[in-house]
């Protein structure tokens, strides 16, 4: 009976979600019990509220988040960080795809540039942040630039690899069917590299946030990274943790959006099929 089958599948998914939420609840409860000055006598620390000082308290963290959104003071900072992240993500992805395709398809250029690409990739690029401040100022542009350097290489290397791994038989077949070099690019190389691009996008979502937040952290007047930095100056651990929770939530949201785009564009990909269990 198809109905009971889909019911069973749904109840399986619900069970999984419930377990996932349970893990979160459990972690928060443990956190709360261990940091609350009144619940337990201090196990490790000399004073009762020292644990709270080091790790923050969940209730206060959520109160801080609540207060941010209710008072509206977070929106300005959140907006700045999201704009930086999205711009870095978009510019890094597009340039990574374009340059990755170009280098993968022109062996001479890639052979000449190979050591430099390896060098730039090996460099700890966060170190570029101060240079970007000098070039682009303390506004949004310097954070975007930092994010782009992080995102670009991930996407670039994946596209490069993706083009290299195009099936030679599919390629030969397209040529026999009369595809011009331009048509080969559009109908064979690009779609073949797309699965690699999406794999890289999941990684680069996080790195785009890293670029934005580290940039704000090092020098800015706005953004969630700036808030975290300020709170650290006052040893306000609750605000720091609240900022981290907020950033994580938005990184997850962006990753989910990438996954959604992936599922819509990559319908042709075989997925593992599970047998039905009754």
């Amino acid at each position: 009976m198809p109905n009971s089958r889909s019911n069973r599948a749904r109840s399986g998914r619900l069970r999984l979600r419930a377990l996932q939420v349970l893990v979160l609840v459990l972690l928060v409860v443990i956190w709360h019990v261990l940091t609350s000055p009144t619940l337990l006598p201090p196990i490790y620390f000399a004073e009762a509220n020292q644990a709270a000082f080091f790790f923050g308290e969940p209730v206060k963290v959520f109160a801080r988040l609540w207060q941010w959104f209710v008072s509206g003071e977070i929106y300005e900072h959140l907006w700045v960080t999201l704009v930086e992240t999205l711009l870095a993500f978009l510019i890094g992805t597009v340039s990574g795809v374009v340059i990755g395709l170009w280098l993968a398809l022109s062996p001479t250029a890639s052979a000449v540039l190979d050591p430099y690409i390896k060098a730039v990739n090996a460099m700890p690029r966060v170190i570029l942040a101060p240079i970007f401040f000098v070039w682009f100022g303390l506004g949004i542009a310097s954070k975007v630039a930092l994010g782009v350097t992080l995102v670009f290489f991930i996407v670039f290397f994946n596209v490069y690899q993706g083009v290299r791994e195009v099936s030679p038989v599919v390629l030969a077949n397209a040529r026999m069917l009369g595809a011009s070099p331009r048509q080969l690019l559009r109908h064979v190389y690009v779609p073949s590299a797309m699965s690699w691009v999406f794999a890289s996008l999941h990684n680069s979502v996080g790195l785009a946030f890293v670029g934005a937040v580290v940039g704000e952290y090092l020098g800015s007047a706005k953004g969630v990274g700036y808030l975290i930095h300020q709170a650290e100056g006052f040893f306000d651990m609750n605000t720091v943790v609240a900022g981290i929770v907020l950033l994580t939530a938005f990184a997850l949201l962006l990753d989910w959006a990438v996954g959604l785009a992936e599922r819509r564009l990559m319908v042709w990909q075989p997925r593992s099929i599970e047998t039905e269990r009754t």
């Binding site: 599919v170 030969a172 026999m176």
Partner: protein, 268 residues
Amino acid sequence: MTPVLALERISCTFLSRDDASERYTAVDDTTLLIGEGEFVSVVGPTGCGKTTLLNVAAGLLKPSTGTVTVLGRSLGGINTRAGYMFQTEALMPWRNTLENVVAGLEFRGVAREEALERGDAWLKRVGLSGFGKRYPHQLSGGMRKRVALAQMLILNPQILLMDEPFSALDVQTRQLMENELLELWSADRKSVVFITHDLEEAISLSDRVVVLSAGPASHPIGDFAIDLPRPRDVAEIRLTPHFIEIHAKIWRAMKEEVLKGYAQQQKQ
């Protein structure tokens, strides 16, 4: 009669990428002439350079020496008069069945609507109507071969180059596909070069069977006309006495080479 496809004195020597002194001659001084409407099979032990020869005919590979002539013209670049059916998966996995079939028309700039209409007609001809929206990974091996067949034939090529197209299929599906191929072929008699290592398949399909020697430096060592009546049923014709007679004759010529080829593989 001038041949439709003429490979004359073809040699192919491959250089090792790391060491230029290391070279491997796959095909040596091979001449193969295919007449109009002729179905020619090329058989030989594995690793004898059959695919190399076919790639030369397709224009995918330039021979070291020798000439390729297509309909009286010397071939430079891709052989646009030929359709190629590959041994392994060659469909574009990101296109559904119908889009794969019409790919060649699309590359040639045929209007979308007309292309789709012709694509649908071809899907029907290979027995896949209703499967247009499926992606290659959702089809069975035999169905994918049908799609590849339609993808090739929709362009109406004068020459069909087929590289062990059915070798990955099970025996029953394979015989079915062979019969379908013969039926499609008999409708407008194109010239066919059919590569296989299966002598029975070669005899049951062809007008002529060319036997290649074992590699390296393989070359034709026999050329046998197959005078079995058409239309044929590939499963039934194998049981006729004349078929068995021809098979025995060609096998005598092949046997030594097959053993040589086997010994060569053992060495590696």
